[in-house]
């Protein structure tokens, strides 16, 4: 019998190799990377079960379930709002474990769970020109006074639904945005981001895990 290897691939695998792209500038205006190896579960509270769901989330993840457009960080998990009575849990992937393992019991009869770990790709965007670039893709007002660290939105880029939230600032003080896109759209949106970034100079840094900072 033949041997089978199961290599996980991202649709961005060939796009995310580290390099510089676009205008040749001293400091790249945009820093772009893919975040890999995460688990993502959509938690949809059942009818009348929001409080119970939020309580279960607090106990399970150690973070407050967001009832409005926010991203809340627990120890290893980020919970971010995605609509009425629903939010995502994003946490590092545990090898050989199903993301829903262990969650079914605490959320039983309180919430429906959908594993979306492979349904989305996570793109992290930073750099001094990140707001100018995102202004081409997003209709949101990302000004710091309106969209501070921890703000989240369910919105769209290039007519495709995305979840977007602001992470803690990068070392150079630039804001950091996480853009969660549908897996099938990832390649297309990545190239749109790259095209929109070209005039500022882009540094594509190597893919990294959730708890890792991007570095080149």
């Amino acid at each position: 019998m033949a041997d089978f290897t199961w290599t996980a691939t991202s649709p961005l695998q060939h796009a995310t190799r580290p390099r510089r792209h676009g205008a040749a500038v001293q400091q790249s205006g945009i820093v772009l990377s893919e975040v890999l190896d995460f688990s993502l579960v959509l938690i949809l509270a059942r009818r009348g079960q929001w409080s119970a769901t939020a309580k279960a989330a607090k106990e399970f993840f150690g973070a407050e379930a967001p009832a409005k457009p926010l991203a809340v960080r627990g120890k290893t998990t980020t919970l971010f709002w995605s609509g009425a009575d629903q939010f995502y849990a994003l946490f590092p992937r545990v090898p050989a474990a199903q993301p829903l393992d262990g969650m079914r019991e605490p959320f039983a009869a309180k919430a429906s769970l959908s594993d979306q770990s492979d349904g989305r790709c996570l793109i992290q965007i930073s750099g001094p020109k990140v707001r100018a670039m995102l202004a081409k893709l997003s209709s949101l007002d990302l000004d710091g006074s309106v969209f501070p660290v921890g703000a989240a939105a369910a919105t769209s880029i290039d007519h495709s639904g995305v979840n977007l939230w602001r992470d803690t600032d990068a070392a150079d003080g630039s804001p950091v945005y996480n853009v969660l896109v549908f897996t099938s759209f990832a390649d297309s949106i990545w190239h749109t981001i790259l095209d929109s970034s070209a005039e500022y100079g882009v540094e594509v840094v190597r893919p990294h895990a959730l708890d890792e900072k991007p570095s080149s």
């Binding site: 649709p11 959908s114 209709s139 290039d158 099938s184 759209f185």
Partner: protein, 1017 residues
Amino acid sequence: MTGSLSLTSAEARFAAGAKAPVAPSGSTQSNRLDTGGLIDRAAPLNFTFDGKAMTGFAGDTLASALVANGVRLVGRSFKYHRPRGILTAGSEEPNALVELRSGARREPNTKATTAELYQGLEALSQNRWPSLRYDVMSVNQLLSPIFVAGFYYKTFMWPAKFWEMIYEPAIRRAAGLGRSSGLADPDHYDKAWAHCDVLVVGSGPTGVSAALAAGRAGARVILAEEDSRAGGRLLSDGGEIGGMSSREWLANALAELSSLSNVRVMTRTAVFGVYDGGTYGALERVNDHVATPPEHEVRQRLWRIVAKRCVVAAGAIERPIVFSGNDRPGVMMASAVRTYIERFAALPGKRVALFTNNSDGWRTVEAALRAGVEISAVIDSRPGIPEELRAMAEVSGFRVFNGVVHDVRGGASGISRISVAQAKGTTVEIAADTLAMSGGWNPSVGLASHHRGRPTWRDDIAAFVPGECPPGMVVAGAANGDFSLGACLRAGHAAGIAAAAESGRTQKAGSPAAASDEALSITPLWHVEGKHKAFVDFQHDVTASDIALAQREGFESVEHLKRYTTLGMATDQGRNSNVTGLAIMAEVSGRTIPQTGTTIYRPPQVPVAIGALAGHHRDENFHSTRLTPSHRWAAERGATFVDTGLWKRAQWYPLPGEKDWLTSVDREVLTVRNGVGFCDVSTLGKIDVMGPDAGAFLDRVYINAFSSLGVGKARYGLMLREDGIVMDDGTTSRLAEDHYFLTTTTAKAGPVMQYLEYCRQVLWPELDVQLTSCTDQWAQFSIAGPKTRDLLREIVEPSEDLSNEGFPFMAVREVKLRGGVVARLFRISFSGEMAFEISVPARFGDALARNLMIAGKQFGVIPYGTEALGVMRIEKGHVAGPELNGTTTAGDLGLGKMASKKKDFVGRVLAAREGLVDPNRQVVVGLKPVDKARRLRSGAHTIPKGARPSPETDQGYVTSVCHSPMLGQWIGLGLVERGRERYGEIVRAHDPLRGEDYDVEICNPVFYDPEGGRQRG
């Protein structure tokens, strides 16, 4: 009194002046002052106009450089090909339209007045042949009696068929504007959003004052200015503000604005439209001022600006007076003459006369005198010319006439003389090479009127001012009819503070700067009767007599006037002509101007290139694309892809030596039917339907029952629209008591998800059910063919029972794959073969495709594409998109028996309507040509044998066709009246589109394995 007026004393005085024009050595700039102006003499630029080499300076527009070079003739008019010169110095220019650049970047109808000069600029005049000076088509003037108002309607009425073939091409050749390059635009454009508390449109004294006030108050401000330089009329009109020169004040104010982090000044950005919810459209000309944009930069950017409040400080546009020869090169707006002198240090002429009906026009005299230009005369039509102006004339040594200009003489190179009819009755001829005219000022009411607010008339300034503005907008300064500098500064300041306060920003904003409050004195004068053509709309050659003719012929409403005469329909959108045109209409129709009214203002306020509206969405970026998990693998194998909505799907996988697609597809079908193949079906919509009421929910959306489906089972489901027509179909599996996995067709994935959410939230909020799309989570492949199980046994853990008993038809469960991955296995078949669908998390999709090839190698496995998939479903009579086409019922599809009688479901009631259960309806049947070598085509109509094809005898049509390698002929599905009762009948397939007509047999749509033994085996 005739003959030229001698003003030798003045000439002598100005000839001695230090500021007389001096052409630098080697320079072509005969009309350039050697000091002054906002140009950089240290940065000379070379350019060409109609091939002639000229020079200008950084800071010039093409128009100002042409003025500095003494060029007067710049274009030919649209209809009569009359010689035309530069009329204005702004974006309202109707005459000086040129073709800019060359090759693929050639850009017709560019206003020389807004095109910034750059090194190497190439410009060509347009609408002339063989040259600007000798234009053959100017004979049109001799034919002018036929080129009157309504010319197109009157001349090209008959015969109608001549229009497309003869009239229109001829008119376009003779009367066209510039030529587009016909090549793909090599530049890039993009679109962006901006957000602010206060958007200020225009950076003249009002706009700068408003931006300062709002910015100091703490508001987030965007100040948008269409010019390359902020300042508006402050750049051209001199004056004092707060005890300093207006230019000094402007420099200080702009410095303060740039120091405020909450203020963004956007120059080269024209706000062109007001949309709903405080959204404004603006066009930024990012790189129009250079020959080619730097690499990676865009040419233009379209902005959507979302503002809580908007202060429109867009200023006013000076309007011409209509008199004989008012379009001759050398006749220029008085404010433009000032702009060329003050801002660009370029002299439009050496002997300037002024014709004005208001006090503001006299400022041109002051500017010209300061520059050392001879004033040959001022003709002021107002009955009482103020004494101080007469005194100035006295001191400066020029004559002032109370009267009007009634004719202008001169040729293509410009005017030489003007005839003045004095109020006292006598006529004077004056020598002048330039006539500055001022008919008053029209506030820019366009943006304020974009939500259908009608401008209101003000007698004191003889102009319209904005009426009801769009929500959140105020208009201030000259745009609101306040023409004094002091009033503009105060109005801007007040508007800025108010707009900031309404956005919740109330820090101290200081007080407005002070300046003079000299009011505009005007006595309206629209039209001077004369012998020759007097133009209202310069660009479209609409004359005063055209308007009178339109009125006589009954086109009195302004909207009719506009369409009948084409007044205001040129690229300047009537900004020079509309008010004057309707004033003349008021005059000839005996009404007042407000009674006559204005036409409707619509965006865009300035022309916007289609490229800018398209932005990034062109070529391969026209729309976003979706890729399946096995896309890269399929591409490596040389698959041909087809666009299916946004998806790219493998259509077939050609092998070396295969001569055409049919060979590849036939091979794929035969290999699957005789062995095994697999196809990526990840594009099907997948929805997790969860919660205690999930079954009850599905019972209501599907015509058949799902609450009774056992866990671990799949069922084919059909859903109807409320009107009883089929909406979509697919297989839905029950994975747990409270978890169904629903699939849709690829095309309807989005709409079905949206519809189910609607059902959940609106129709049945009482049901405890949760929905989410999981289409992208899973890589799903259909594996089909008699050797499917053999292949699966290679890749699935040996402990899994795949036998017919252990894994029966329509069973579903998780299985472990060798190597540790968990997959979902569904025993369902679309091809009619023994088949499974297998799904793994998307990140393993690529690996699964590769591993299926390894597992199936010994069985001759192949990948197959959507074409082979389609062939096999047609052979099996399975309906798909062409049959689920929005006109068919479950009964039409042969699926009527699926409908449950024990429950209610969406569409049940209306599906029972008489028309939807009519036995004569067209239903799905199989069709095959009687001549087996014949190709069947989709869209062919079925007509009874012997009947003449007509809508009355038409009984249906062919919906899906394929070449069936199993049957060795072309077959198809179709919708045919009472088709199921007519198996065996021969009808005609009539295809007028392709000119074909042949016999086909109506048959059972299940062509292959009608008993279904293969898929259950």
